[in-house]
């Protein structure tokens, strides 16, 4: 695997650098973002405090009291070479059991209406897709998941909910996501998983990591309850 293009490295502020791999939506760019992120996370580099992966970019926060932004920028050139040569670990494949519709997926009819599909078809499309975690961002443990069938694309709610239960599965535009904790949210809720995908006390045990492949498996109400008890 090689990084197709060298990223541009631009200061985003006087303490952050953005490494941007270009505007294309290609698997090569996704791979490059994974490689660089993995490399930076597994090889602690003096002067870097935080790593913010995105769809086509990685932003790093510099510890400016330890190292100048210029010095880090210079070191990143070598890091990019090393990352380019890095073999990515085989992605985990994670099955996410989902109880679709009903009280746990109150917007499934809205999605059906908007897309012109039956609710059965919405479930069938959502649960047959091959998804991948592009990165974790926004709030603690929130996975940005790519790969949803564009037929399911539905705009966000006009009025976001004040509280979305943890484990809710949502659709916003052509993205799908899982709420790791109970937060306000504006995505269309189509179902809910009984799994705890993220525990802030043990972030290293997060169910989903960058690069993981995901499949959603429809389950029944009684299965949902059984999962919850385990």
């Amino acid at each position: 695997m090689t990084i197709p293009t060298d990223p541009t490295i631009t200061p985003a502020s006087d303490r952050t650098l953005l490494l941007h791999f270009g505007e294309d939506h290609s698997p090569e760019i996704q791979e490059a973002v994974f490689q660089l992120s993995h490399y930076l996370l597994n090889n602690s580099m003096e002067g870097i405090l935080n790593i913010h992966p995105g769809y086509r970019s990685v932003m790093v926060t510099v510890d400016v009291e330890k190292k100048s932004i210029q010095a880090v920028q210079k070191n990143l050139q070598q890091v990019l070479k090393n990352a380019r040569a890095m073999e990515l670990p085989e992605p985990s494949v994670v099955d996410i059991p989902v109880l679709y519709g009903g009280q746990h997926g109150p917007d499934i009819n809205k999605v059906a209406e908007h897309t012109g599909l039956s609710t059965e078809k919405v479930i069938a499309l959502h649960s047959s897709g091959d998804f991948q975690v592009s990165f974790i961002g926004f709030t603690p443990g929130f996975p940005y998941i790519s790969g949803m069938d564009e037929k399911l694309a539905t705009p966000r709610l006009q009025n976001p909910r004040k509280r979305v239960p943890a484990g809710s599965i949502g659709i916003a535009g052509n993205q799908t996501g899982i709420y790791p904790s109970s937060t306000p949210g504006g995505w269309n809720l189509i179902g809910r998983t009984p799994l705890h995908i993220f525990d802030i006390q043990h972030p290293e045990k997060a169910l989903l990591k960058m690069g993981d492949r995901i499949t959603f498996k429809p389950i029944t109400e009684s299965e949902f309850e059984r999962w919850q008890q385990t």
């Binding site: 006087d14 952050t16 953005l18 913010h52 995105g54």
Partner: protein
């Protein structure tokens, strides 16, 4: 060794310098909103720089001390007293067992810090005692202090408080009439006229001001290239411009990634001023170069280091 909350303030939370290293999991750094005043406070009572203190916003409350302690208040000037005896900022005080520290309203900016020698001994989460209010994590139960809460204090070194001869210089660092920025990642999305308007006119801090972000009101800032970028990392202090053209400054509890274009970014040396902004404040942005920004932060750090030496 503890203190008890007799009366809660608007938003009193336990803070340290934050929780770096977890942005890739969606966890922003948090930490003191005005890290400059926070650091000086710890310096004055001879604590390590990252020792947990109380961050007080707008109004302070009342706190009874269960043991003798050495305290200092830094940041904005609030009406503060020990058992009715007024006390000032930037100066160490001995407080005795059963005495009460009262902190009323601010006479100045949004926040002050109560640093106690030995610090506040809450259980660290991911190596930090900082409260992340938006997600309810860390600090004291992940929340604002309430009446009746009891907080343990750490071991005090019993050393002398440092003296400060440069209060004016320090207060100058907190003057929030002007907030300096560097050009943002999407700075080119805004044409010259928009930039002129952005720098010439004042902005007002709206009621929507939190540790996550500060919404501003003023002349509409219009992007010439759209209102959305593909989700990517958000830097601390990013001046984001959503579709309504009213900028939002991303602050210490900001979301780790986002999609608004960023016209500018507050320089590190002026993040302490952002931490002091309160609703109704009016200020102007000023553009500086990256090199100037780095220089200004180095100078600010020097003020803290010189304090150590004195």
């Amino acid at each position: 060794m503890s203190i008890t909350v007799l009366k809660a303030g608007t938003q009193t939370i336990v803070q340290d310098l934050g929780r770096p290293g977890f942005a890739h999991l969606g966890i922003s750094v948090s930490g003191a909103a005005d890290a400059f005043s926070f650091r000086i406070g710890n310096q004055l009572v001879d604590n390590d720089p990252n020792t947990a203190a109380l961050e007080i916003t707008l109004t302070g409350g009342a706190y009874e001390f269960g043991s003798n302690a050495v305290i200092v208040i830094t940041g904005s000037t609030f009406d503060a007293a020990i058992d009715g005896q007024p006390i000032g900022n930037w100066k160490g005080y001995n407080i005795e067992k059963d005495q009460c520290l009262q902190i009323n309203s601010s006479r100045d900016g949004a926040r002050c810090y109560v640093c106690v020698q030995g610090g506040f001994d809450v259980t660290p989460l991911l190596a930090s005692r900082s409260t992340h209010l938006m997600t309810g994590l860390g600090g004291f139960g992940g929340r604002t202090l309430r009446k009746g809460d009891m907080l343990e204090l750490g071991h005090a070194s019993e050393s002398q408080c440092a003296k400060m001869n440069n209060v004016n210089e320090i207060q100058g660092q907190l003057n929030r009439n002007k907030i300096r920025v560097t050009k943002g990642l999407e700075g080119d999305w805004f044409n010259d006229d928009t930039w002129n308007s952005f720098l010439k006119n004042q902005f007002t801090v709206s009621q929507a001001f939190s540790r996550m972000g500060i919404r501003l009101e003023g002349n509409v800032i219009e992007s010439s290239k759209g209102n959305e970028i593909l989700t990517q990392g958000v830097p601390l202090g990013a001046v984001q411009v959503p579709g309504n053209g009213q900028p939002i400054i991303s602050f210490v509890e900001h979301q780790t990634t986002g999609g608004y274009p960023r016209i500018a970014n507050v320089i590190s040396a002026d993040l302490c001023k952002v931490g002091q902004l309160k609703p109704g404040d009016r200020f102007q942005f000023a553009l500086v170069s990256m090199a100037e920004a780095e220089q200004l932060y180095a100078e600010q750090m020097k003020i803290i280091h010189n304090l150590k030496a004195s």
